[in-house]
């Protein structure tokens, strides 16, 4: 449980980032998830991404719903405000928080039960509204806290621990996110830190709705033979379309790939996504082509990973709402209250 705090001792050689924070400053209390849980690897990737991006921990708001994945915001970014809301409803709470204060970075962490089952509606609507957020689904295909029932992302034919197959069609959240207009879509695997960390970095710096489906095997209930969300299965079927580095600020962009193998995408805030193409015919800026590619490869049983889609000119909900730049909690009474004179005028019009 989260009352187990970590010792405050820092290794003297821990390297500080540009803000003077070490990796430890982005950590939280000890995780209470099972040993070997994929979710802890994702927490570690979030910590690393925030550290590498030189983000101020207190300028991040971490939001979640209910479930194993939704517990994880307790275990990273201890200096950030966090909000563990109700089951399947993180997206609405995040949306409201974001409308109120656009200055913070919003990180929503959810699971496949939280977002594909009970919260499918809120997931869909937050994506289609273009809420400026990083929405990570830690996808293991089962309900852990209630002991291993299938979730809505479990593949048809995948077997539970007792060998009983799931007969329902799976919900592919990546396809949904693309169809609903997400402007940054990635899929990764908790066991592939090198792929996952830059994907999270790019999402955090993206303006608009960024969605990452991260397959994260459940070591307790879904890591057996016959599961399609086990470490072994995902490693065998993982087909990365690209590898990515995120380049911020004035860091030089080195061309360490042959021409045609590299693609540079400049994001709204000036960061560059440097993509090394693995699938040479893959264009992550063509939404329709991406959707086709994903369907074709899914039909072959492949799990396509990498930065799947990005629209670097995306706008967000605040653009659509035309809201002022200032956080609403900083507006003064004078900014908010029209006053007695305006009311007198209004009264006169109502007679």
């Amino acid at each position: 449980m989260t009352y187990l705090s970590k010792p405050k001792m820092h290794h003297p050689d821990l390297k500080a980032n540009a803000l003077g924070f070490t990796r430890r400053d982005y950590e939280g209390p000890v995780s209470t998830l099972c040993a070997g849980c994929g979710h802890d690897s994702i927490s570690a990737a979030i910590i690393r991404a925030c550290y590498q991006l030189n983000l101020q921990p207190h300028r991040i708001a971490k939001m979640s719903g209910i479930g194993c994945s939704s517990k994880t915001p307790s275990y990273f970014l201890g200096a950030s405000h966090g909000f563990n809301s109700v089951h399947g409803r993180m997206p609405s709470v995040l949306t409201g928080a974001n409308i109120a204060n656009r200055d913070l970075i919003y990180l929503g962490v959810s699971g496949d039960g939280d977002s594909a089952s009970i919260g499918l509606g809120q997931f869909a609507h937050s994506i289609r509204r273009g809420v400026n957020m990083t929405y990570i689904v830690e996808n293991n295909g089962v309900y852990g806290l209630t002991k291993g029932q299938f979730s809505a992302t479990a593949d048809k034919g995948a077997k539970n621990r007792r060998g009983v197959p799931n007969m329902d069609e799976p919900i592919d959240m990546v396809s949904m996110a693309l169809q609903l207009g997400a402007t940054y879509v990635g899929r990764s695997f908790s066991g592939d830190k090198d792929q996952l960390v830059p994907l999270i970095e790019g999402a955090l710096m993206h303006k608009g709705a960024a969605f990452i489906d991260c397959i994260s095997p459940c070591v307790a209930f879904n890591n057996h033979e016959g599961s399609t969300k086990s470490f072994d299965y995902v490693r065998e079927h993982n087909e990365a379309v690209n590898r990515m580095d995120v380049i911020t600020g004035r860091a030089p962009i080195t061309a360490d790939y042959a021409p045609g193998e590299m693609e540079l995408v400049r994001q709204h805030d000036g960061t560059y996504l440097k993509l090394k193409k693995i699938a040479t015919d893959y264009d992550p800026t063509d939404r329709v082509a991406v959707m086709n590619y994903l369907q074709e490869h899914k039909a072959r049983g492949e799990i396509v990973t990498g930065l799947l889609y990005v629209d670097s000119d995306a706008d967000d909900l605040h653009g659509y709402l035309n809201s002022i730049d200032a956080p609403f909690n900083t507006l003064s009474d004078a900014d908010l209250v029209p006053g007695a004179a305006a009311l007198a005028k209004l009264n006169a019009s109502l007679r």
Binding site: G82, F83, V86, I99, N101, G121
Partner: protein, 612 residues
Amino acid sequence: MNAIDKIHPHSTVPALQAVNEFVVKFANVNGSGSASANQLFAKAILRMGVPVTPRNIFPSNIQGLPTWYEMRVSEAGHMGARDGTDLMVAMNPQTWDEDIASIMPGGYLFYDSTKPMPASKFRDDINVIGVPLTAITNAAYTQSRERQLFKNIIYVGVLAALLDMDVKAIEGLLADQFRGRDKLIAANHQALRLGYDYALANLQCPIGLRFRPSDQVGDRIFLEGNAASALGALYGGATVCAWYPITPSSSLAEAFIKYCAKYRVDPDSKKNRFGIVQAEDELSSIGMVIGAGWNGARAFTATSGPGISLMQEFIGLAYFAEIPAVIFDVQRAGPSTGMPTRNQQCDVLSCAYASHGDTKHVLLFPEDPAECFDFGADAMDLADRLQTPIFVLLDLDIGMNERLCRPLTWDDSRKLDRGKVMTAEDLIAGRVFGRYLDVDDDGIPYRTYPGTHPTKGAYFTRGTSRDEYARYTEDGAAYQRNMDRLVKKFETAKAMVPAPIQRDAAVPTRLGAIYYGSTAPAMLEAAEILAGRGIHLDLMRVRGFPFAAAVGDFVEAHDRVFVVEQNRDAQLRTLLINEEEFNPKQLAKVLHYDGSPITARFIAETIAGLIG
């Protein structure tokens, strides 16, 4: 020879005679454009200085079903609904029989006589005024849309003549309404005169019911409770509104959109000092409100009973995690879909104890649009000060009808009270921060806005149990301390919610009545009726929950207290008994729940019957 004489030369009872005290009811077809003509008529009466209280009685339908507009004209100031119609404007053949039946003996029927009606379709104890409206309209207009709309204005013209109204006042209103569109003004004036002149030339004008200029409107305004609530929220500093359309609350959010566009656009950047989202459902709308409240913005949603049901889980989160939120519930008849366009006060209990587990919530009960404004603004302060959901319980009767009320007022020296917020300066100065620490012994802890300070003041918000420093715990003692503090906070709220208003009878009495919200005008009139019969009641209008101490004193001071409400299960009475431990036998139920607004006659008859 006049139209009345043509059909029924002698009504079997004397024709009603009344000046500025009667009920006119318009029977129309939904979607026929009658609403604006009827509203025009009501406003013209107000311009004559005569108080009028209109009520829309409408179905859950867009076009085609029957709709009524009932106007209680009362120079004496009675604003509650009244049974029976003195003048029926019967424009809807579908409802002819029930419309005729509702006319008071000696009353008047005004109808379109273009197609002759069989004599059996009339009553012999009413006065019938037939005008060939369709024939007049069709002769004057060729386009079908024009015919439909101007027919309504023509009948307003006829009524103006029949009731001795100042036709110039109506013309002035039309000119205001269509300012800048001279062609439209001229066309409406022409239609109005068509009806007016026809009536003067062909009918005996005026009839026994008539208007006389008065000074009883004073400086009062004419406004819907939903619009007033939206203005209250705006003046209360609300910046975020998340809502899902549901009758009868939709016009509250729509009014907020309108007023924000008028008052809240930054003049330099042309950007909005507000964010309004039409959510995908009520769960999402309350979720957004809670997210925004957590982040220090004042946020609200507007909904009705079914929305309250859907929001239950989130309301419990906001209660337990202590997040400000304001919920306007414009009540309608339930349960389930119930009667979505009919009135009730039936969400009192489902709001007071919303969500699973031990919960109690603050409720405000406005009686009219002016209080909707006041309470709308107060609710924003209360939510921040108490860090909890605040419910403003309107109902359809005050929410969706224009009501004459005192002008809205605002004190420019008033400061929005954001409650206990610890700032970066406080934290740097070394103030101890425990999110759920009761430092002031009032049950209300301090909070920080997310992003306040790099190393101090961050906490984790959750719906699970935690200790005073927001750390997760399943320790029973810590849980219980927290639950007890929430009760203490609720006690603190007693002095913060609007105090009840007591009106004592002219003579000392051991009988009292408690009422709230839209019941107010009917209750006041009922007390007058009963006093005339020698039954004297002290009155207490409850305006907030938790109940102020004065409510207990009132009940103690009377042998018998009638609790008058518009629901089946006596919900406020239940709340009084449950929270104040009153003897149930002392609290008599007066319950009106057929979906129509409660009337003075109903209250008076019920109380007289209970007294026996």
